[in-house]
């Protein structure tokens, strides 16, 4: 391993590089806006749900500088997000890709709303049918706001029938 090392600038330069991160590339206003927009979709890996544009951590700042460099190099938004996802996994994306298991995230609420809506509709219709006036139901069934349990209602009706002369 030692053979792979060659002395160059020396310890002083090493210390300086360790202390002073390089500045990012100069971007036009449009490029900077694009870098910020893409950066808002990249999660800071060492924070809780913060995008790298809002995190002061060294890692986020370095990732943002890397991202700005890619924007300057003319890479597309997809290429940039793929670059980070390939290294950190999809969890680095604040906007999860719509594929694979992630589809559950997007489709789940829609499916739940449709199924829940269908169930609610059928329940309301069934209740409406039960609440409709019948020849022997009398005024008890006329109350649209009646939410007496069915068994209890049947018992009341039975008792009412017995009390008739």
């Amino acid at each position: 391993m030692q053979a792979t090392q060659t002395r160059t600038a020396g310890q002083t330069q090493a210390a300086q590089e360790q202390q002073a991160p390089a500045a990012g590339p100069a971007l036009t206003a449009v490029q900077e806006a694009r870098a910020q927009a893409v950066g808002r979709t990249i999660r800071c890996p060492v924070c809780q749900g913060l995008p790298i544009t809002e995190s002061p951590s060294d890692l986020s700042q370095s990732m943002l500088r890397d991202l700005r460099g890619q924007v300057a190099a003319g890479r597309s938004d997809d290429q940039i997000t793929t670059y980070f996802a390939q290294r950190y996994g999809d969890t680095v994306l604040l906007d999860p890709p719509r594929r694979g298991v992630n589809l559950l995230l997007w489709a789940g609420p829609v499916v739940a709303a449709v199924l829940g809506g269908a169930w609610l509709l059928s329940y309301l219709r069934a209740r409406e049918r039960q609440a409709a006036p019948t020849p022997d139901a009398g005024p008890l069934a006329d109350d649209p706001g009646d939410d007496t349990p069915d068994a209890y209602l049947a018992q009341v009706r039975a008792e009412a029938g017995r009390r008739q002369p």
């Binding site: 020396g10 310890q11 991160p21 020849p135 005024p139 049947a154």
Partner: protein, 193 residues
């Protein structure tokens, strides 16, 4: 609740009982949701058995050592490499340092290579103290802009990549090596410890 003025007909028959299967729907739904949550939690982020880079070519780098030397991954091609990201402020890094030191004693000219990369550690004095304290006999590289850390997807230390002779990442470990986990990683790159 008054006496009904309606005709004295027979009392209404009780409604049909709820079908048995319908009673099982809520608990089954809840069980499915809990199971899905459990699978998601247990599956985790794949940090132990395979990071996103496993099975891919290890990104090349050329970095300066704390002594002013320079090491590139390309220069190690043909050798299995253990690439360890660490920091002097990282407690698990201290726990695994003796293991890596022992491992580095098995290095040979054309055999295993152990390389450390300092992660987000601006205090060079502490870095040197760490190296001296654990007598690390392998190069510790400086990554001041974290560029190499980002190309490897490092988010916290320690993280270790096991790179085979062909330059492919075959294993990954996060959170601190134990002898068993180190051996498991080395086995993937054909090295016995």
């Amino acid at each position: 609740m008054t006496d009904s003025p309606s005709s004295p007909s027979a009392p209404a028959s009780p409604p049909a009982p709820t079908p048995a299967w319908r009673r099982f729907v809520p608990p089954v739904l809840a069980a499915v949701l809990v199971a899905a949550l459990g699978v998601g939690l247990l599956r985790g982020n794949g940090t132990q058995d395979g990071g996103p880079l496993v099975g891919k070519a290890a990104p090349d780098f050329t970095l300066q050592t704390i002594d002013g030397g320079r090491v590139s991954l390309a220069s190690l091609k043909g050798r299995p490499v253990v690439l360890n990201f660490w920091a002097s402020w990282c407690v698990p890094c201290r726990d695994e340092a003796p293991l890596l030191r022992d491992l580095s004693e098995k290095q040979s000219a054309n055999g295993l290579a152990v390389v450390g990369v300092v992660f987000s550690d601006k205090d060079l004095k502490s870095v040197r103290s760490f190296v001296q304290e654990y007598a690390l006999a392998y190069p510790s590289l400086l990554d001041p802009n974290l560029n190499t850390a980002i190309t490897y997807g490092v988010s916290g230390v320690p993280e270790t990549f096991f790179i085979d002779k062909g330059g492919m990442v075959r294993g990954y470990d996060q959170g601190g090596l134990t002898r068993e986990r180190l051996q498991a990683g080395l086995t993937k790159i054909g090295v016995a410890f």
